[in-house]
Symmetry: C3
Subunit: 311 residues, 3 copies
């Protein structure tokens, strides 16, 4: 692996999952691999799980870790040819090249603005790092993708499924604020690669990018969609067509124990209780959100390991 910024960077998913589960059994087995190697973690946005699990993963491999909240430094410029006499102090061209000299791998978190679809889809921040850095880049959630989360989700489903080909449903949920589509996008792309029966349910008009969902079945009837599901992944996203808008907060789309039945409940966290999902689900036996979060460490660790193997 030379970078991990999109799901497509995984060439052999089943092998990666198997290797991640092995790492989980013995997290410190490769603690010499990262000796004298440095991971720079750059945050343009807030983080809890991603921050801690990725740092943990790198240290499990013996790496040094440097964490920088980029906003604590100064604004970076991403446009070409700008006369930089306003608010940005440094161009990404310099920043990415310079940081590449201090780190062996750079991990980046940069959320979308959710107002300019074209700009968000250009993945300006992430792709600028890919373009100008001279070291591998890891995506810690970009404008349109969260591949480390999706890998943790795939590991979790693989570990906990009781069937060869489980039924997995992605179910939209209401939320008071406009959230990115990144988690949903990467989960869809990951499920398309996994041996599962996958479908999506959301209110009419809340379709994700059709270039991502492709021919994945979509059902506007949540109840029908959830029937006989083995895993239900609940997630809000803001509207994609009327880009970044919150057009629906219908509480009927909240996940309940009644709707869930015996399926396993998944969510990437953070999750708003009694808005996205009722307490009874999160506090019940079918919730596997804590296991998902645990697998964030091993998703990050297998990715860092595969990159280190190729350095």
């Amino acid at each position: 692996m030379k970078k991990y910024t999109v799901i497509e960077d995984i060439s052999n998913l089943s092998e990666i999952i198997k290797d991640a589960v092995l790492l989980k059994m013995d997290p410190f087995e490769h603690s010499v691999l990262g000796k004298n190697k440095t991971l720079a973690m750059l945050f343009f946005n807030a983080s809890l799980r991603t921050r801690l699990s990725t740092e943990k993963a790198a240290k499990n491999l013996g790496m040094n870790v440097m964490v920088l909240n980029v906003n604590d430094a100064w604004n970076l410029e991403f446009e070409d040819g700008t006369v930089m006499n306003a608010n940005s102090s440094e161009h990404i061209k310099e920043a990415a090249q310079v940081i590449s000299q201090y780190a062996d791998i750079i991990a980046v978190r940069a959320f979308p603005g959710l107002s300019d679809k074209q700009k968000d889809e250009s993945e300006q921040v992430l792709n600028s790092f890919i373009k100008y850095a001279s070291v591998p880049i890891v995506n810690m959630e970009s404008a349109t993708a969260h591949p480390l989360q999706a890998l943790a989700d795939a590991i979790t489903i693989s570990e906990l499924t009781e069937k060869a080909k489980p039924k997995v449903v992605l179910s939209w949920a209401p939320h008071p604020r406009a959230l990115p589509q990144a988690v949903a996008n990467s989960f869809v792309e990951m499920m398309q690669k996994l041996d599962v029966e996958f479908s999506i349910t959301h209110p009419e008009g809340y379709e994700l990018n059709p270039n991502i969902t492709k021919n994945t079945p979509i059902n506007y009837n949540q109840k029908e969609a959830l029937k006989d599901a083995d895993f239900v992944y609940v997630k809000n996203w803001s509207n994609y067509k009327d880009y970044g808008k919150v057009l629906n907060q219908d509480p009927n789309w909240m996940m309940t124990q009644d709707k869930l039945g015996t399926a396993k409940f998944m969510h990437c966290l953070p999750v708003r209780r009694n808005v996205v999902v009722e307490d009874a689900v999160l506090d019940g036996e079918n919730s596997i959100v804590i296991e998902q979060a645990n697998n964030r460490t091993y998703a990050a660790q297998i990715v860092l390991k595969k990159i280190l193997d190729n350095l």
Copy 2:
């Protein structure tokens, strides 16, 4: 030791103090004990000494350390059953369980709001971590207690006393802002366990929680109280009865060289010069505040060591 959140978690104080002094003589003796163990330090409030000394202590034991200013992430919800459609993005139930998977010990700093006594005394943040985390919790100053400071203070008195049973006086001091009672509370509880002659002096009406002071002598006459003292611990706290109020800023309560006499001067720091204590005291020979601060490292280190011993 399974956690260190209140003074009562220390079962054998004299042994702990002795072990801390041994660690101080050879801080790196146990630098293999913490190998592949991680301390997550979570700050809901600012820190200088606690941050640096606890990180130092953990690294002296060979631990990995991850520091997170929680406010850089997002607001956590601590109430049960809330419909989370307002300002908090994640419930402590998830956060504590998740972080427990990334860390072997969690240390938490969370100050009181000083407006709602009952809420502060419920120690909601600290106790929520204790309730929901699956790893040991260390208190880096909570709403009502600062046990790592009190342990450092006990170590300092033990090291520097010239008498078998020294006279120790806690003396209130004026301060322009409303400060917590946490340091004073833990110092009182610690002195009650140590073999000292202990009393408190403060203006009438500034009584600490009587459930904490119990039968410790209180004298409203500072001059009388300080007579023949060996150690004088100076500290401001806001009013406990008229909760969180600053009802007294009388400069006559400031500690002076004249009042101190030959006693050793103690303070947890940060300290406001010429408000809490005059320059002459801090710059004089009887101040032991720097030694106290040094012992913060060994207080934290012995606590982390005792917890690691039990993992």
Copy 3:
């Protein structure tokens, strides 16, 4: 070396440069030297390169690193004798002594206010740490000096020069904001120690402190000054006489490929493209700003190594 806060702290520049180049060839050769030693990095101001390169340098030597954004803690008091009843919570006397007990070396970044020349020139923050700390201090850019940058610059010139005595020109550039003179000052002092033909060009009235420039030739005609230059160091600084003012933003002083000719282009970064220097220069073959930034690691590492050698 006992500290590195001013250029004068380097006694043998050519040896230091040679040793830095050796470190660069084998950065981990001395990775045992810093074992159980701690570097505390204290930032009063934002940082990207200095933060990451100094942390990298310390870890290359096997040191532990603790990074503290001081502003995340509280305001420090630097004046003597103050009645601290206003905005500052802790005096530098206590802070510096206390942190000295948690760290073996303290590195400090503290920019000038650019309104009170005398105060800035007193280097109150840096000099207070030097005065009250009991461990060596490293300057990560103070009010009037940036010696780690200048050392990286000297290493870069030494590595890339094709002549025994190259011609080096420091050329002022326009900038929308008031910037410190620190980088220019230290570069001037460093060039005065290096075996180069050194001169400065800037608009009339933009003279740096004459106690620093001494008898270094100054030419107000940029074109003339740049003639036959081997290295051109471009940098903005705010006015020194009319202290901290931006009196000139003349775009004719921007560096262009045409003006530069075959000389190597240097800048400390961050740099504002098409304000300080045009894209063609930074994107061209003669720019060595990335090499300069790379040498920040080895400048910091040789300084830390020399200090550790003396601990």
